[in-house]
Symmetry: C2
């Protein structure tokens, strides 16, 4: 009996549930994103800025994944959007069945855009399809420009890259174009945004992209 | 057959190998640390500053754990210390058997201090004993002051906390005393250091502590 076999079985089961989630989301015209990053890269801050920006134009819902606490869901709740908190109690990533249960708590007919904020972890969530339209990886400049090379799977499996905390570049040993080049070496088809949640820079462009994609209803 | 059972078996086997590593290290008078953090918190930078500082006073060896690339081992090699690179090829944490194999490549009789740099991941490495004397968790200020509450296991299982990147505090929404209080809420017995690898602040105190502990030979 090998651990690898078990892991594969777990992944196969996960992928089957993810397919069901994807169909459900498409049937309801929901554009769903799976947001992944290291802890503290700024997923929740980007989400807050996004909710503020899209208020009144898109109907957004949020699923918050955390190892422990509902701190993030409480931050999001201030923006008066439907939000479901998943606490994994030590689990290092979200799985499709947890998202399926969370979807059961949302009125999907009233949602244009669903943002799933995964557990802060640059390794494990890369293997788990949740049924999203695409993965968005957030890399903060303070993590250093070598991270795409050191954690390639996450950048390979993502469609969008948000380079966050660009306001801190003057104070840190990170070169933005090197960070971007390293990411594009791993995955040349990444759509890249550069943002700062402190100054608000880049949030407009990201929200324009979000709106265009959310209005283009996905086919089931 | 449940996944939880498999996981427990994996952990039991890991713990048995970890015990053997611990005995081997103690028999050779090696003080071993398992350094853990999120990606980009500054483990390798602290290591570089430490190697520079301890040069000529302590005999240090390094085991580098990475998901991919030998970038970190190459950074460390510049300091002329014995270094072994473990590439996990997607694996999200080091395990005791990988460290056992790495130990076989080191002349332990000639080592006072062994620093094992784990994969950048604030979740998974917390469960895996490698045979170290203690875990050192690095939390960078740029990750935000809420991280100990959101990723408690790592802070609970560590003995030492290094709060890194304190030079960036004027530019970011992180309050140092809140970060420290949150960590001590999870684990009141943490020994805490505050460092900046850019200014060198706090590296002295950390190296004094290291030297004292490395000279106090562990009993097997």
């Amino acid at each position: 009996m090998s651990v690898i076999t078990i892991e594969r079985k777990v992944l196969e089961k996960n992928d089957e549930v993810a397919r069901q989630n994807r169909t459900l989301l498409a049937d309801n015209g929901v554009f769903a994103l799976n947001m992944v990053s290291s802890p503290g890269a700024g997923k929740t801050s980007i989400l807050e800025r996004t909710l503020e920006h899209l208020r009144g134009s898109l109907r957004v819902a949020v699923i918050e994944g955390d190892v422990q606490t509902d701190l993030d869901a409480r931050r999001v709740a201030k923006y008066n959007v439907p939000a479901v908190q998943i606490v994994t109690r030590g689990g290092c990533h979200l799985e499709a069945n947890l998202v399926r249960d969370a979807l059961g708590n949302l009125d999907l007919k009233s949602v244009d855009l669903l943002i799933i904020e995964n557990v802060g972890n640059l390794v494990c969530p890369s293997n788990y399809d949740l049924g999203e339209a695409m993965k968005v990886v957030v890399a903060s400049t303070t993590e250093g420009d070598d991270k795409p090379l050191k954690y390639p799977a996450m950048f390979r499996n993502a469609s969008v890259l948000i380079l966050n905390k660009i306001d801190l570049l003057p104070y840190i040993p990170c070169t933005l174009h090197v960070l971007k080049e390293n990411a594009l070496k791993i995955n040349p088809s990444l759509t890249v945004f550069e943002t700062s949640c402190t100054t608000g820079q880049g949030i407009d462009a990201w929200c324009v992209w979000l709106t265009e994609n959310a209005r283009r209803k996905p086919a089931s």
